[in-house]
Every structure is written in structure tokens, then in C-alpha cells.
């Protein structure tokens, strides 16, 4: 199996970038389509709008990316967002200073992730089942503690996280960018990221390499919970209320974005940049279809179809390489 090293390096280089290129082309295609169909789509105001709208999806997807990379899944994310946002809201209305309420909410979100992680690593229940249980349990808990009613009556400062601007950029968008940058650094610049990819690729070999795989798994589920609580804070600010039934079913949209971005549901493979593109494709679609006044049922049909087409193109392309 000897051949010229140069050509080999080149071909593997091209291969690595192909999936992202496909996604980028899809995104550009969607943007061009909407720009032709509607004069209001490609305006500065609307673009900023899109970034604000995708922020929740993006932040949660960043955590989900790591969970899928270790070969897990976290279906409890949407419930966790609603839960933490309600926890923060209730504490604030009870008269606790907002910053303490926010910290407690974040701790609650991380705690939920830790419980997920503990069950997966110590009890050995598959992540799909563990987090499915957590999804239902947590949503139930949220309804129980609120009695099913929304929580409201917050100071103006809370709205800042959902609707505020810094230097003309929506705060949720800034938070999303910070989260993506943070996760990027973690995944590609630190040894933890290396361990995440390794254990998703081969748990046993990674463990035998002297890596504490349970610790890495715990950390990833806790980070997912952490990002949920950040999303919870943004949601609280945007709605100016804590809604116990917020984001029901949203976990599937998050998984859609991550898988669309090329992350393998079997773990070990996929890039964060792909996920960013996946998030934006879904965001642009949702925004554009609303502008074109297409009803939301069609939006669902189209989002699903885009997932299958984008992943399908990649599969067909890769099969040809085999």
C-alpha cells in the first residue's frame, strides 16, 4: 500500500472539507432563494433578526454536539431550558436578587446534566433512555413547581438577556458566538476535546489509554446542562416570563441541527463548524418561510426534507468514495 505521499495528503484534505462545503452551498442556496423571493429578506435588520432567532438553537446545539460526539444523546435539553428558566423566574419573583437567582438556575441546569451523566456512566442506562426519562420527569417537575402557570413580574434587567443589544448586536447572538468560540476552543485546542473525540470513536481503547472516560462523559453532560441554563436565561428575558410549557419538542430540532451539521449519531465524528452551518440553515429557513408567509406546517415539511437531502447528498458522495 505504498503510493505517493503527496497525493494522499491532498485527497484526504479535500475529503475532510467536503461535508462542510456541501452545507455551505446549501446555506448560500437558501439565502439566494429567499433574497430573490422577498426584497425584505436580505436587509441588515432581518439578518440581525435571524441571528437572534437562532441563538437558542445554537447554544443548545453546541452542547448537544459534544454529547453526540461521545456517542450519547441528550433529549432532556428542552425540558431543562424550561426548567431552569422557571427556576430563575420563581426565585426572582420571590424577591431574591436576580444575579443570585441566575446562578442558582445555572447550578440547577448543570445539576440536571450531572444526574444524566451519573445515570449513564454509573448505572449504565443508555443515554437515549436516561435522557428520555429526564425529559418527562423534568417537564413534569416544572409544571409541578409552577402549578402550570407562567411566572412573571421581573425587573427590566432580565429582559436585557433576551431582547437587549450591545453595540447594535442582540445580546443572545453575542452569547451564542461566545458559546461557539468556547466550545471550539474546548474541542480543538484542549486535551479534553481530544478525549471527547477519542472516546466517541472507541470507548474501550480510550479507557485503556489511561483516560478517565467517565469523567469526560460527566463533564459533557454537565456542559450540556450548563448551556441549557444559559438558554433558559435568554428565554426568560425574551418572553419576559417563565413559561413551564416552553420549547416542548425543541430537543428534536436541536438534534436535527447537529446531525444536519454532519455529526455522527454514533459518536466520534463531526465538526463544530458543520453544526454552526446546520443551525443557520434551519434558522434561515424558518425566517425566510415566515417572510414569504408560508404556513408553519409547510415549514415543518421543508425542514425535515432539508435534513434528508443534505445528509443524503453526503451519504451518496461518501459511498462513491468507498
Amino acid at each position: 500500500m505504498k503510493a505517493e505521499t503527496k497525493t494522499e495528503t491532498k485527497s484526504s484534505f479535500q475529503f475532510k472539507f467536503n461535508q462542510e462545503v456541501i452545507l455551505l452551498l446549501v446555506l448560500i442556496g437558501v439565502i439566494i432563494f429567499f433574497s430573490i423571493m422577498s426584497p425584505t429578506f436580505l436587509t441588515g435588520g432581518n439578518l440581525i433578526n435571524i441571528i437572534r432567532q437562532v441563538a437558542l438553537l445554537g447554544i443548545i446545539a453546541a452542547g448537544m454536539t459534544m454529547v453526540l460526539l461521545i456517542g450519547g444523546i441528550d433529549l432532556s435539553v428542552a425540558s431543562n431550558v424550561a426548567f431552569t428558566s422557571v427556576v430563575m423566574g420563581m426565585l426572582i419573583t420571590a424577591g431574591i436578587p436576580p444575579w443570585i437567582a441566575i446562578i442558582v438556575g445555572i447550578i440547577a441546569g448543570v445539576f440536571v446534566g450531572a444526574v444524566n451523566g451519573l445515570i449513564v456512566t454509573r448505572v449504565g442506562i443508555p443515554a437515549l433512555i436516561t435522557t428520555l426519562g429526564m425529559l418527562t420527569m423534568l417537564r413534569g417537575t416544572t409544571f409541578v413547581i409552577t402549578g402550570g402557570y407562567p411566572v412573571f413580574g421581573f425587573p427590566e434587567s432580565i429582559r436585557f438577556f433576551g431582547n437587549g443589544y450591545l453595540l447594535g448586536i442582540p445580546v443572545p447572538a453575542i452569547i451564542m458566538v461566545a458559546v461557539f468560540v468556547g466550545v471550539y476552543i474546548l474541542l480543538y485546542k484542549t486535551y479534553i476535546g481530544r478525549h471527547i473525540y477519542a472516546l466517541g470513536g472507541n470507548l474501550e481503547a480510550t479507557r485503556l489509554s489511561g483516560i478517565n472516560t467517565k469523567k469526560v462523559q460527566m463533564l459533557v453532560y454537565m456542559l450540556s446542562g450548563f448551556f441549557c441554563s444559559i438558554a433558559g436565561l435568554i428565554l426568560l428575558g425574551r418572553l419576559n416570563s417563565g413559561q413551564p410549557n416552553a420549547l416542548q419538542g425543541f430537543e428534536l430540532e436541536v438534534v436535527t441541527a447537529v446531525v444536519l451539521g454532519g455529526v455522527s449519531i454514533f459518536g466520534g465524528q463531526g465538526k463544530l463548524i458543520g453544526v454552526v452551518l446546520g443551525v443557520f440553515i434551519l434558522g434561515v429557513l424558518a425566517n425566510g418561510l415566515v417572510i414569504l408567509n408560508i404556513n408553519e406546517f409547510y415549514q415543518m415539511v421543508i425542514s425535515g426534507a432539508v435534513l434528508l437531502v443534505a445528509v443524503g447528498i453526503d451519504r451518496i458522495y461518501n459511498r462513491k468514495k468507498d
Binding site: M1, K2, K189, T190, Y191, I192, R194, A198, N202, I211
Partner: protein, 501 residues
């Protein structure tokens, strides 16, 4: 002169960046056992896959019974009477023996399976092969050897003219190999041509009529077996002559590891031994005698229930994890490199650094420069062949094994446990691994080597620990190390050899 049943003409198979086969010619005649020999990565499997229709050649043609194949698919090959038994099992564990054997060719009436007819066919095949298993046993409940036999039964349950067997004996005991050979001979008498792939030389010489040798994707030669002997065949395969080096053994004084009355519940019991600096302690014993378990206890994978391990003067009553084991200087090169050794989807540089990633990081952050120099160092030292960014999954077995060894070395462990270091590795790479072990000893490392290969154990070990039923049956010094002594200890036939040194 009989016409060939398969004629391979100038077949080349290119993958992006590599040429797996280059201009290979081969003729297979009815009623012969034709062995395909070559090192890992020589192109044997690629050629087999082409014949089985799993992949198509880039250039060249295949004729079956004088007819040129125009389409390559498993279905076409199977219709032409070519059956294949892959090295890895293609059985569905949750189906029965019968369901597996008849899979895809069930006798049926409309939508419905004709159960009795299927059972009858299956029974006939099993009987012909002399397998005494019920057709309704689930495959998952069978041992590896029986699964192998079911795989063969599946292949011959339809009319085959050519049967391709890719290392069919890897999981079989010698008795089972004998009955497999008997079966092969009777197939041969019925005019079936068998293409046989094996790394085991004794088997090649016992069963083959002809041998075709491939090297680096090139056709080297086809010879009748009478014209070959061990040396000649090796030379054809490797392209140079190999000498099995015997080590110079010197007396070692400094003790680096002492195990005292080690127990691990359900795994090993009452293990006491010591390891000197710069020596190879071979660990022999039958399958299931507790060799791998002992390695896993030392490496922190199984808990120590009682007893102690002392390393470099410090005594430990437990080793919690591989992390802990590495910290105190014990490294493991595990038995199953694909499952336990490398991450197939990551590149070789990353794999090499995996065990030491954290240690070599600056705080949380990777030190890519340092990692690069480490992977370069071991790539050169072990002469591992890979290009920048090549995935570990794309390497041949020998190169993969070297990456696993590089990974253990990169952690700076002083005591290295090799569990079956050369399993599934071709003869050239084997020699390189032996040379490397010698070099490690010169550098002051110490080695515990578990192996089922008698030659390896006898040639490399300073002393040989023999395991039996989870306990140490005895430790043989070099001058008493013979195959007979090892055998009598491991089978418990003789007790008078229990001289511990």
C-alpha cells in the same frame, strides 16, 4: 488440460491515493486448494473481495468458466458459484443456525417460509460437515469455533464451484482444524476449487496444492507446493530473508516489580512473582488460564481483592484505573488492537499521543508541536508507515499494532505488558516488533509478554511464567524452558517442575 474455473487477468485496483492491487494474474483450477499468501496489506483481501463481487477492479478482467464478468456484485458472484467465508463473521447473532444458513435463500411458497424443507436442507449440510448442533440453536449461544463452522456451512449450503476461505482457522483448535481440512479435501474431490488464505505456515504446507504470492499489491509468483519450503515461501512473501534472532540473555539484578499473593475475585488467585529490570517475563498458559486477566489486574482494570504490587520500591494494595497504572509506570499493549488499542476514526498522530495527551498539554491546552515531535519520534523509531493525517483504521494490522505500541511508549511506562503482541501481524512486522522489544530492553524497560505462540515465548523470554486456572503453575528459568515443560505445567500433568527462581 483442464480449463481454469477462474482466470484473473491483469487486475488492478486503485483507491484514492493508493494502489491496492497492480496487474495481478491468477488461474484457479477445479479440485485444487490454491493458497494466496502474502503479508498484511499485500492485497489478498482486495483480490478476494473482487472475486466475491464486493468491489470491482479498476482495470483488468475476471473470467469464470471462460465467461468474462461484466458486473461485480455479490449476487453475480454467488450465481456463478463463488462462495466466500470472510475473516470477520457475517452471522446474525439473534437468528438460529438454520435461519442464518438459509438467509436470503429461504425455500418459500409465496410469502411463506417452508420451514420443514429449510430445516431438512440445513440438517443435510450440517451432517455432511459432521457438525452436531441443533438447527434451532441461536448463533449468539455458539462458541467462536462453532460460529466459524456455521459460516462455512452457509457458504457450501448452495452449489459452489469455488470457495474462498479467508483465515478460516484463526479461531479453531487443532482438532477443529483437522475436521475442517477433512471437509476441504472432500469438497476438493467433488471438483470444488478452494482459495485459501492463512498466515499459518504449517496449514499452508499441509493443505495447499499451489501457492500464489502477492507482495505490496504485486503478483510475485505461483508455485506448486512441492517446490516450496518454509524459507523459500517467506522469502517470496517478504522479499528478503529473515532470521529469527535469539536474544543474548544476561543475568539481571535489579528488581522493578514484585507481586505478592495477588487475588482478584473470579479472575486470578494467589499470584506471586517478580520482574527484573531489562528482562522479558513470558506468560504462557492455555486460553482462559487467566493470562489476560493477570495483565488487566496489573493495569488497574480488575480490582485487587487482596495482595500487593510493588513497583520501584513502592507498595500498592490497589491500582484503581489504567490512569493510575500508567502513573506508577505500568503500560499495556492490549490483545485486541481494533477494539482496545486504537481509535480507528482518528489519525495516527493523535492515536500515538492519546495516552499522554493530558501530560503533554500546557494546562488545558494541547501542545501540538510537542505532540508532533513525539509522534514523529516513534514513527521513525518503530518505522511505522503512515502519511500525515492518515486514519488508524486505514493501516494494515502490523502498522496498527506499532501505533498501539508507540502509544504505550509515549506514556514513558517502564514496565510494558504485551498481550499477544504479534497476533494477526505478518511475518515481516513480527520481526520488527521483536527487534523493537530487544531495543526497549536495552533502554532499561522491562517486559511482561503474554503469548500463545510457543516460538515467541521460547525465543524472547528470560523466564516463563505458566498460568493454569487463574493461578501461577510455576515459573521456568531460561535453561528449563522447553515446550514440554510449559505444556506439563499448563495442563497440570507434572508437578515436579515447580521450581521458582
Amino acid at each position: 488440460m483442464v480449463n481454469p474455473i477462474i482466470k484473473v487477468t491483469d487486475v488492478t485496483k486503485e483507491y484514492p491515493g493508493t494502489i491496492a492491487l497492480s496487474g495481478v494474474n491468477m488461474e484457479i483450477y477445479p479440485g485444487e486448494v490454491h493458497t494466496l499468501a502474502g503479508e498484511n496489506g499485500a492485497g489478498k483481501s482486495t483480490l478476494m473481495k473482487i472475486l466475491a463481487g464486493a468491489i470491482s477492479p479498476t482495470i483488468g478482467s475476471i473470467e469464470v468458466n471462460g465467461e468474462k464478468l461484466t458486473e461485480f456484485s455479490p449476487r453475480t458472484s454467488s450465481e456463478k458459484g463463488i462462495g466466500i467465508i470472510y475473516q470477520e463473521f457475517n452471522l446474525v447473532p439473534h437468528l438460529t443456525v438454520e435461519e442464518n444458513i438459509m438467509l436470503g435463500k429461504e425455500k418459500r411458497k409465496g410469502l411463506f417460509v417452508r420451514k420443514q424443507l429449510n430445516t431438512q436442507i440445513t440438517k443435510d449440510v450440517l451432517e455432511k460437515m459432521n457438525i452436531k448442533k441443533s438447527t434451532s440453536t441461536y448463533v449468539k449461544d455458539l462458541g467462536v469455533a462453532d460460529q466459524q463452522l456455521v459460516e462455512i456451512a452457509k457458504a457450501i449450503s448452495q452449489d459452489v464451484n469455488v470457495l474462498i476461505m479467508d483465515e478460516p482457522t484463526a479461531a479453531l483448535t487443532s482438532d477443529e482444524v483437522e475436521s475442517l481440512f477433512k471437509l476441504m479435501r472432500s469438497l476438493k474431490e467433488n471438483g470444488v476449487a478452494i482459495i485459501y488464505i492463512s498466515h499459518k505456515f504449517e496449514e499452508i504446507f499441509e493443505i495447499s496444492d499451489k501457492v500464489t504470492v502477492l507482495r505490496d499489491g504485486n503478483y510475485i509468483a505461483t508455485k506448486p507446493i512441492e517446490e516450496l519450503d518454509y524459507e523459500k515461501l517467506v522469502k517470496l512473501m517478504v522479499g528478503r530473508e529473515l532470521t529469527m534472532s535469539s536474544r543474548a540473555r544476561t543475568k539481571k539484578e535489579e528488581t522493578i516489580l514484585i507481586a505478592e499473593n495477588l487475588f482478584s475475585k473470579g479472575k486470578v488467585a494467589n499470584i506471586s512473582f517478580d520482574l527484573k529490570k531489562g528482562e522479558v517475563l513470558g506468560v504462557a498458559g492455555l486460553l482462559g488460564s487467566g493470562r489476560t486477566e493477570l495483565a488487566k489486574v496489573l493495569y488497574g482494570l480488575y480490582p485487587i481483592t487482596s495482595g500487593t504490587i510493588s513497583v520501584k520500591g513502592k507498595t500498592y494494595s490497589k491500582i484503581d484505573s489504567p490512569e493510575h497504572a500508567l502513573k506508577i509506570g505500568i503500560g499495556l499493549i492490549p490483545e485486541d488492537r481494533k477494539k482496545e488499542g486504537v481509535v480507528l476514526g482518528l489519525d495516527c498522530e493523535v492515536n500515538t499521543n492519546l495516552g499522554a495527551t493530558k501530560k503533554n498539554s500546557r494546562g488545558l491546552f494541547l501542545d501540538l508541536k510537542k505532540e508532533k515531535s513525539i509522534s514523529k519520534e516513534y514513527k521513525d523509531k518503530l518505522s511505522i508507515k503512515y502519511y500525515d493525517g492518515q486514519l488508524a483504521g486505514q493501516l494494515s494490522g502490523g502498522n496498527q499494532q506499532k501505533v498501539v505500541i508507540a502509544k504505550a511508549l509515549a506514556t514513558d511506562a517502564d514496565i510494558l505488558i504485551f498481550d499477544e503482541p504479534t497476533r494477526g501481524v505478518d511475518i515481516g512486522a513480527k520481526q520488527e516488533i521483536y527487534n523493537l522489544m530487544n531495543e526497549l530492553l536495552r533502554e532499561g524497560k522491562s517486559i511482561i509478554m503474554i503469548s500463545s505462540e510457543m516460538g515467541e515465548i521460547l525465543n524472547l523470554s528470560d523466564r516463563i511464567a505458566v498460568m493454569k486456572e487463574g493461578e501461577l503453575a510455576g515459573i521456568l528459568p531460561f535453561d528449563k524452558a522447553t515446550q514440554e515443560n510449559i505444556f506439563s505445567l499448563s495442563s497440570g500433568i507434572s508437578k515436579d517442575l515447580e521450581g521458582k527462581t
